[in-house]
Symmetry: C2
Subunit: 393 residues, 2 copies
């Protein structure tokens, strides 16, 4: 059973923004004001809805709902894009009987495309008619662009006799999707929590999940994760309980992040690049990203090739500071490279079965410190090239 947090409902409508005969306008709504957090793309080019959310963060008022359109990114659309975004919030807020500033906007689609305002306006009647009628799954499907499947994760936990639920949904089939869409993530929760604590917990959870996945190393202009907590299940304030809640939140984010990598464009693998023994977390991250982004490592994994040479070559150029003679690499649990030298075994045969699997574990020790970092990466396939070279023709 999907654990839908108390006091939240969902509404979807088919506006016809880009996709025929499917829902593409989505509202996640709480019946009470929410404590909220928003993690936004670090791309210098930020979409209009991202800029509006930044203003909302500065104003720091409680929110009640999230509204998402799939089809146009409303990125690189200038002043007009900001005005469009604000107009969609006014229109939609009226339909939802909310104030515009209680509504968080998110858009996904092709960069440079403006929102089709006339279609949005026409869809309001449908939104109104279906208010609260949709399921969480309907919402998770309506935010998709080229995703192959809806992505949801949830936890329910009992804290001092209260049942607390967290539900997350996400879209994305790459850090940038075929149509330059985005990674969007929405988390709703019915716990009552302090706003500052919630924002900190969300920042930590996102840093360890959505920020540690890569399909192609490209970051979208629209990426965002919103997390709303409406307190309908009661307050959570004890330190021990907050720790449990933060853990559940982190698990939901990690599960969604994994689902995005699994749905990577043309991807066949989920590569867990785990780096340890680095001089700092940042150094471990540099090493993990060099490996996880390397086209040669990604094609080797697709080819089910235990090619340690490509892994160590990527480490060596990563910018991380380490002694090559202290480096060890294990693939699928087998140490194939030990203290700077290959382990002479018939790995082609010994690892053949393990490398056929979808999940591949790559453990890299730099041998010189406490810094650790884990990155989830997809592989690179002919299908990735096909999708990204041909989709606009």
């Amino acid at each position: 059973m999907i654990a839908v947090p108390k006091g939240f409902d969902f509404t979807v409508a088919a506006a016809g923004f880009k996709y025929a005969q499917r829902n593409d306008l989505t509202v996640l709504r709480s019946d009470t004001p929410c404590v909220w957090a928003a993690m936004l793309t670090r791309n210098l080019f930020q979409a209009a809805p991202v800029l509006v959310v930044k203003e909302m963060l500065a104003a720091d008022r409680p929110v009640r709902a999230v509204v998402v359109n799939a089809g146009q990114a409303n990125a690189c659309t200038g002043e007009q894009g900001l005005e469009d975004c604000r107009n969609t919030l006014s229109m939609t807020a009226r339909t939802l009987h909310l104030a515009p500033e209680e509504l968080l906007p998110a858009s996904t689609g092709v960069i440079g495309d403006r929102i089709k305002m006339d279609l949005w306006e026409q869809a309001l009647a449908k939104l109104d008619a279906g208010l609260g009628e949709a399921s969480a799954l309907d919402a998770a499907r309506a935010i998709m662009t080229t995703d192959k499947y809806p992505k949801m994760a949830w936890r329910s936990l009992e804290l001092s006799g209260k049942e607390i639920r967290i539900l997350g949904m996400a879209k994305g089939a790459g850090m940038i999707c075929p149509n330059m869409a985005t990674m969007l993530g929405f988390i709703i929760c019915d716990a009552g929590v302090d706003q500052n604590w919630w924002r900190q917990a969300v920042a930590v959870a996102v840093e360890h999940s959505f920020n540690r996945i890569t399909v192609d190393g490209d970051t979208s202009t629209n990426d965002c994760v919103f997390a709303l907590a409406n307190s309908r299940a009661g307050m959570v304030e004890e330190k021990k309980e907050l720790t449990l809640l933060a853990k559940a939140l982190a698990e939901v984010c990690a599960e969604l992040a994994g689902l995005i990598v699994q749905d990577a464009e043309g991807g066949t693998k989920i590569i867990h690049v785990r780096v340890s023994g680095a001089k700092s977390v940042r150094q471990a991250e540099l090493a993990a990203r060099a490996v996880g982004h390397s086209p040669l490592v990604k094609t080797a994994m697709y080819g089910q090739d235990p090619n340690w040479g490509r892994i160590v070559a990527a480490l060596g150029r990563s910018g991380a500071d380490f002694d090559p003679n202290q480096v060890s690499v294990a693939l699928a649990g087998q140490t194939i490279f030990h203290l700077g030298a290959p382990v002479a075994m018939d790995w082609d045969n010994l690892l053949a079965a393990a490398l056929c699997r979808q999940e591949v574990h790559m453990d890299i020790s730099l041998g010189g410190g406490q810094g650790k970092y884990t990155l989830l990466a997809s592989d690179f396939t002919e299908e990735y090239i096909r999708i990204n070279a041909k989709y606009r023709t």
Copy 2:
């Protein structure tokens, strides 16, 4: 006519290291001692021959020849690899009637493979028999691994009545080749020049050529460029003449670098990513590399898609510091993005002819400074994936 510098000759032999029925052992030799420079890979994992050349740089004695084997990289081979490299130098020096320390070694092939010492020893008789019999083209062919064609460039210039010749050759079909080989470059020149001046000129030429190309962003463990000048055509010492010589050297390097990108694994395009208006050269480089390495930009160019959204998204995440509202992008000479906003035109049709061409020019202005950088990049194709996923199976 290939301008072969005076006093240099070439020898090749088929040792059978990896490739059947072709030459794979190459000597470039001068009949007099040379002033020399060596630019080596910055990868922390450095192949045995690279480590030996570092020792030779420290010892700083004149050299007479370069010996190259294609087939085994002799990288990540530990102490044994260093001993193997030194033994090949002793054996080969004896055959060439030189001292081992007059011989610069370079290897290319699969990382982790040791040099087949028995085959090398057997090939010495062939080397001896063919001493000086090969052409420069024979040498350029014998250093290839999976290159589709030999890569050479040359200049001849008259300085104070003396004819000075520079000849370069290179191998490489990616920063790392399908077999984890390398980019190797060899430059020979018959000018007499000061060693320090030569090293500085080579460093500048390499920085602006071989260090500004990318196929997949991966840097090999064996990359190196050696440049030898034997003074057989007379001394070059006047400032004006040195400037002309440095220019010719830079042109030879740039031409070879372009040939490597043109031969990129599976590549169909040569993308000239020119960034200007950055706050510094380093900032311009960050921006250029983000665009030139972006799988989404590379697949768009393969798909002949004027997708400015992917270019600006890559710029925005590059780490370069700029104002998005000052950014302009021109593709094939047409400004498709101006001061932070797209230029509304039917670029799909207007740019169709230009994007069919092999050479694509991408001019990016960040609008905020004097920093400039040009990177040559290849595109990403299904064939790249095929080569790199399947070659070991």
